[in-house]
């Protein structure tokens, strides 16, 4: 690929059942482009966790994915409440998800830790009352 392929998605904040559509679409595209199952799995799980976070905490947002031969970059931005304490939010098991969200199986407090686990690089830019942008990179081994 000469230039990175750019995919853009609006993540609907109202609908849990459609949450994950963007991740599934990205996974399909990566498969079509011939990426390894390992890369597909890492990218799609990290992105799914991010999507779910935007639905749970921020009424949805935007997802941009840039695919090149050497890396896949995922940028998730929302205009939610922001993350008060990023270090705390990064701790496995810490969650502020509501009870009805937990009843769906989410809210394990593993979203951000999983995003970190499955990517090579992760940056969180958050401002209280303004929103959060998460950038994740998965490098493709030659």
């Amino acid at each position: 690929m000469a230039e990175p392929l750019h995919l853009h998605f609006a993540v609907d904040g109202q609908d849990f059942s459609s949450a994950g559509q963007a991740s599934v679409t990205v996974k399909k595209r990566l498969r079509q482009l011939g990426f390894s199952p390992e890369v597909m799995r890492r990218v799609s799980i990290a992105m799914y966790e991010g999507e779910i976070n935007m639905v749970i905490h921020a009424h949805g947002g935007e997802a941009d994915v840039y695919i090149s031969d050497t890396e896949i970059v995922i940028v998730l931005s929302d205009r939610g409440p922001g993350i008060k304490d990023v270090a705390l939010a990064m701790q496995a098991g810490y969650s502020t998800a509501r009870e009805e969200i937990r009843a769906l199986g989410f809210g394990a407090g593993m979203g951000l830790p999983n995003m970190k686990k499955y990517t090579d690089e992760m940056q969180i830019d958050t401002k209280i009352g303004v929103g959060t942008t998460v950038l994740m990179k998965v490098r493709v081994k030659p």
Binding site: G20, V24, Y48, L104, G105, F106, K117
Partner: protein
Amino acid sequence: MNFSALAARLSLEHAAGPVPASFDGVYAGDLLSRVMSRLEKDQLWITIMNNVNVVAVASLSEAAAVILAEDVSLLPEAAAAAEEKGIAVFRTEMTAYEICREISRLADGGAI
């Protein structure tokens, strides 16, 4: 391990999706992010969660199949998603522990 042999031996009820030929290990759990952290490709996933997000997690994690324990039924919306995404879902009255115990026993005996 042979999935069809397992399904027959445990009388698993087929709820949705194409039946996989084989599986390679098992993970049991219900919190979806924990599952995504631990469930590996081609493993069986045993859970009591039955909503559409289960199908998404199984698909993204590339599970061999999902087994719903404790007589849980797959919700209709989730069944439709499983058919669409090609995710196999089975159900049984057994608990997760009982399923794991049986898989271990059958695998040790070379039956699956």
